[in-house]
């Protein structure tokens, strides 16, 4: 008797699964392109991480190549390069995040307080211009500004009686330059995101504070900034999920293969790309890639977990 009901329930579940699937067939059809895409371009490559433990042979393919255990990782960790690259990638990203948040929140607050609407709108359009161009064009602009013989900045410096700066001889300047151009290119985007968050603040808060005699700076500190914290945390978490992944386009176009500059501006992604392009060290490159992915994953899970404990509303998932 009991056996029969159990079998019946199993049978029932089975049918229900097909029935809900059939009932939702149109929704599932609409999902299909995205599902196929994600399987092919995200989940299948994930199986390719076995390459990190193999000696890749193009003819034998990903799964046919011979296993080599941890040899790729041993090479990777033994070369002193790895920590240098990880450190660079991390520090650059932290610099991008912190400079970004200061500029974006700052500009959002300023724009919000400025009265002149035409001015506001003009500024917003201008700020977005750099966001529209590729890093290739940014590299061309860098040359126009900083080229040793003809660059505009060097022209101004020498007109004022100073000595021209040869950027390609002074790698020490590049970290600043890279952070600057990155901020230049992305500040417009972030500013609008924060501006939207500011618009969502209840105006009564400001009015009440004003009646109580709070100054502008006090209102910004006590009302606007605290109201922006959730947005900041979400953007921070999103950035943190990629914190060991460098902005390849930026570094490839601005720094590229220039050996002198790589001293100061080499990142994991450039290293992996170089290994891939020379096809000499596929195993080590995929080991580095796996290492990078795992670092990112651990970071985001840990930080999100901590935030979930402290402030469940602010966590990403």
């Amino acid at each position: 008797m009991q056996n029969a009901t159990e079998r019946k329930r199993e049978h029932f579940d089975y049918r229900r699964f097909f029935r809900t699937t059939w009932n939702n067939r149109f929704l599932l059809i609409m999902l299909l392109p995205a599902i196929i895409y994600v399987i092919v371009f995200a989940y299948l490559p994930m199986t390719g991480i076995v390459l990190a433990f193999k000696n890749f042979n193009y003819v034998k393919g990903i799964f046919g190549s011979d296993w080599v255990g941890l040899k790729n990782f041993r090479f990777l960790f033994m070369s002193n390069k790895l920590w240098f690259l990880v450190r660079n990638t991390l520090l650059y990203n932290l610099a991008f995040i912190s400079v970004g948040v200061i500029l974006e929140v700052g500009f959002a607050i300023i724009i919000n307080e400025l009265g002149n609407r035409v001015f506001k709108r003009a500024f917003q359009s201008f700020m977005f211009l750099p966001y529209f161009i590729s890093w290739v064009v940014v590299a061309a602009i860098v040359q126009a500004l900083f080229s040793y013989e003809y660059g505009m900045i060097n022209g101004v410096i020498s007109a004022l009686g100073g000595t021209r700066i040869n950027l390609y001889d002074s790698p020490g300047l590049w970290p600043y330059l890279i952070v600057m151009f990155r901020a230049w290119k992305t500040a417009g985007y972030g500013t609008v995101v924060y501006l939207a968050a500011i618009t969502g603040i209840d105006p009564e808060l400001h009015e009440a504070a004003q009646i109580d005699g709070a100054s502008l700076l006090q209102r910004i500190r006590r009302i606007t900034l605290p109201c922006l914290v959730p947005t900041m945390i979400i953007l921070f978490l999103l950035a943190l999920g990629q914190v060991f992944r460098g902005d390849f386009g930026l570094f490839y176009q601005l720094v590229g293969n220039n050996a002198a500059l790589l001293e100061k501006a080499d990142i994991l992604d450039l290293f992996i790309y170089r290994a891939l392009a020379s096809t000499s060290d596929m195993g080590m490159a995929s080991a580095a890639g796996l290492f990078q992915s795992v670092l990112c994953f651990i970071t985001i899970m840990t930080v999100n977990g901590i935030i979930k404990k402290l402030q469940p509303d602010y966590s990403l998932f």
Partner: protein
């Protein structure tokens, strides 16, 4: 001094600094473009004398006539980039909005499972090497137009933006249409999508920008000149001009050759040629762009 006055003084100082900072940054965003544009219309000889400046001292279209002197490659890369941008953007917008719609449907039982299935790919991925090998060895991406089209066709972020926008469309629309017996695909295309114009404009803009500015796919997968994208062509051009210049300056008495070959102005002219359409489009789409970002920001 009364408190009222303190407040006003406060505001005045803030405004002064505010306008100053904002003006400076605004100029920093615009002037480089002006520099490139002005230089592209300057004669090379004048550039050699004065360097890059904001003023045209000797007007010349020499750089442009040189760039268009051999238009074959410009034509190829323009054709590729326009085709890929149009087709890719249409597909990308369709997939993102469709997926977003399904994932926000309350009556779709597996929506959380599928959301996780998509979201997980933003937390962890296989990395460049496995992706590259998969695409080249198993999907035949080498010198295939699919390599320019597919890598940018779906992004989880666009899907999340779509999902959070469509959530604001009343569920009753879907519900009543279902009661009337319409199927989900019909509901989406006939009822929901027409209500999502700002969303479509935004996602379209994001995707079009990504396709237009793409050089990475070409770098990885394309070696044939007639299949390269516009931005990659620009990059190659700039690099080869630079290489040529280095070669010439190694050769010693270079100044005569250098003037006969307008390298610097040619670089700037090429930059204008490849970036022009996007910048010209900018004033028209800018409005949607700001709006769309705001859509994305609602949820974060």
């Amino acid at each position: 001094m009364t408190p009222r006055k303190i407040i006003q003084k406060d505001k005045m100082i803030f405004n002064a600094f505010g306008y100053l900072l904002v003006t400076l940054f605004g100029l920093a965003c615009v002037l480089p473009f002006l520099l490139v544009l002005v230089t592209s219309f300057t004669s090379e000889a004048s550039l050699m004398r004065n360097g890059y400046t904001f003023f045209i001292k000797e007007f010349s279209t020499q750089a442009y006539s040189l760039a268009f002197g051999n238009p074959q490659r410009i034509f190829w890369s323009y054709r590729n980039t326009i085709a890929v941008t149009v087709i890719g953007t249409a597909c990308a917008v369709l997939i993102a909005t469709m997926t977003g719609y399904v994932l926000q449907r309350r009556d779709f039982p597996q929506r959380n499972g599928f959301s996780l299935f998509f979201f997980f790919t933003t937390l962890f991925n296989g990395g460049l090497v496995p992706t590259y090998i998969l695409c080249v060895r198993y999907l035949g991406f080498k010198n295939n137009y699919a390599a320019l089209l597919l890598p940018l066709m779906f992004s989880v972020w666009n899907m999340i933006i779509a999902k959070s926008f469509i959530t604001s469309v009343p569920y009753e629309i879907t519900e009543s249409a279902k009661v009337d017996g319409a199927n989900d695909i019909l509901i989406f295309f006939r009822l929901i999508l027409p209500l999502c114009k700002p969303l479509v404009a935004t996602l379209g803009l994001f995707s079009a920008l990504a396709y237009w500015n793409d050089w990475y796919s070409t770098l990885l997968y394309i070696t044939k000149e007639e299949k390269m994208s516009l931005q990659y062509f620009l990059q190659e051009m700039i690099n080869s001009i630079q290489a040529l210049k280095n070669l010439v300056s190694l050769g010693g008495s270079a100044s005569t050759i250098r003037i006969s070959l307008p390298t610097e102005t040619l670089k700037m002219a090429m930059t204008v040629i490849t970036t022009g359409p996007i910048i010209l489009l900018y004033p028209f789409v800018q409005r949607y762009f700001v709006k769309g970002l705001t859509i994305g920001a609602v949820k974060g």
